[in-house]
Symmetry: C2
DNA sequence: CAGTTTAGCGTCCGATCGTTCGGACGCTAA
DNA sequence: TTAGCGTCCGAACGATCGGACGCTAAACTG
């Protein structure tokens, strides 16, 4: 009835599960990601699917990691070749906006949704989400400080306090963009985000 | 064993349910708001509780309405006496920040969480959330345009396009504030939000 | 070739979900 | 005094949840 997979195919099965898991979780949330639903979607049994992870929490953690990989590929990697400092920072922000605009995840920014869902809980999933976001912000902050030290930023941004302030406001622009795109389905928000970034980083 | 309530007390019971429902939903989400859990919290039976609403969806809609009432009371009403235009706009933003800082809802901004949870679904709950947010933004936009027409805003904000841009960025500041407070538990974000608003509206 | 490993299935479990139902009880009005 | 209404309860429902178990059979290892 059911063909058995080889050990090498098993790794493929796992990645298929995770791809679909990221897809579903971005829409339904990490808790709404259900073993039975996911198994049915993929034409497998619940036990066959769960065998790859052991528990739902382990599956959720793997999904978070997978989503982080997608984010890195779709955003961070798009700016790897760009000169560090302000040019790199601009490229990162543009890639960030593009990632929102293209709808890389069908349910909007995966991590924005994950934060809203898990910020009040405690446990490994919350920590995993926080860690991924921390890494991303660390990268951004690094570029901001490079640009600040090089005197490339407007408004006399030189101190670390100013850099944190800029980080805070840039993040807000992206959250607002995600909000407008998801709730209002307002594509014009993309231009507003670009204008806001241009103002924050200098035109 | 349990005392029976009079008809007048029933309305009180309903509001007790809703108060607790808002409390729970802000932490667990509107879907995580469970009939059984809510009933247990309040020391009543599931059926007795559901009798007041008829279905979970009706309960969710009532919870959204209740939360909107809290938001209006804790934010909008704090600026009613202030002179329209820029002063009122400043007061609204300060009340908005204060609402975040004080943690009016134990799970952070109720509507930010609700949007993240329901933006991908369809149905009455999503529409109710969108309507409430729309009303709030309409009020803000109105004050922004008053201030713009009076020439009170920096950066030469006069057109409706500029007003929408300012609305977009103000909203981002608050989303970023909520994000930092909930995920990083970073109280310093409150000052960053105030600085961002001061820059957007003029110091 | 035989022996081990393991991906995946089928089945079952206890808990919990939202919802329905009949009835017990207190209140109000006739 | 009593009929009726509304509130709330206890029990039960079908569905679905995450998870545990043993099994089969293909793929790997020697």
């Amino acid at each position: 009835m059911s063909p058995r997979r080889s050990a090498t195919e098993a790794r493929n099965t796992r990645s298929v599960i995770l791809d679909r898991g990221v897809h579903v979780a971005s829409v339904e949330g990490l808790e709404g990601l259900t073993i039975g639903r996911l198994a049915t979607d993929l034409g497998m049994s619940k036990s066959g699917l769960l065998g790859h992870f052991g528990s739902k929490e382990v599956l959720q953690l793997a999904v978070v990691d997978t989503a982080a990989g997608v984010f890195v590929h779709e955003v961070s990697d798009r700016a790897t070749g760009v000169e560090p400092g302000l040019p790199r920072l601009r490229a990162l922000c543009e890639a960030w906006i593009s990632y929102m605009e293209r709808g890389v995840f069908p349910g909007g920014c995966f991590f924005t949704a994950a934060v809203a869902e898990f910020d009040d809980r405690e446990g490994p999933v919350r920590e995993a989400v926080a860690r991924m976001i921390g890494l991303w912000r660390r990268d951004l902050t690094f570029q901001i400080r490079l640009a600040a030290n090089a005197g490339q930023l407007p408004g006399g941004i030189t101190t670390d306090t100013d850099a944190d302030q800029l980080m805070f406001e840039l993040y807000g622009v992206m959250l607002s963009l995600n909000h407008s795109l998801r709730l209002d389905r307002d594509r014009a928000a993309v231009d507003r985000a670009r204008r806001a970034v241009a103002r924050l980083l200098g035109a």
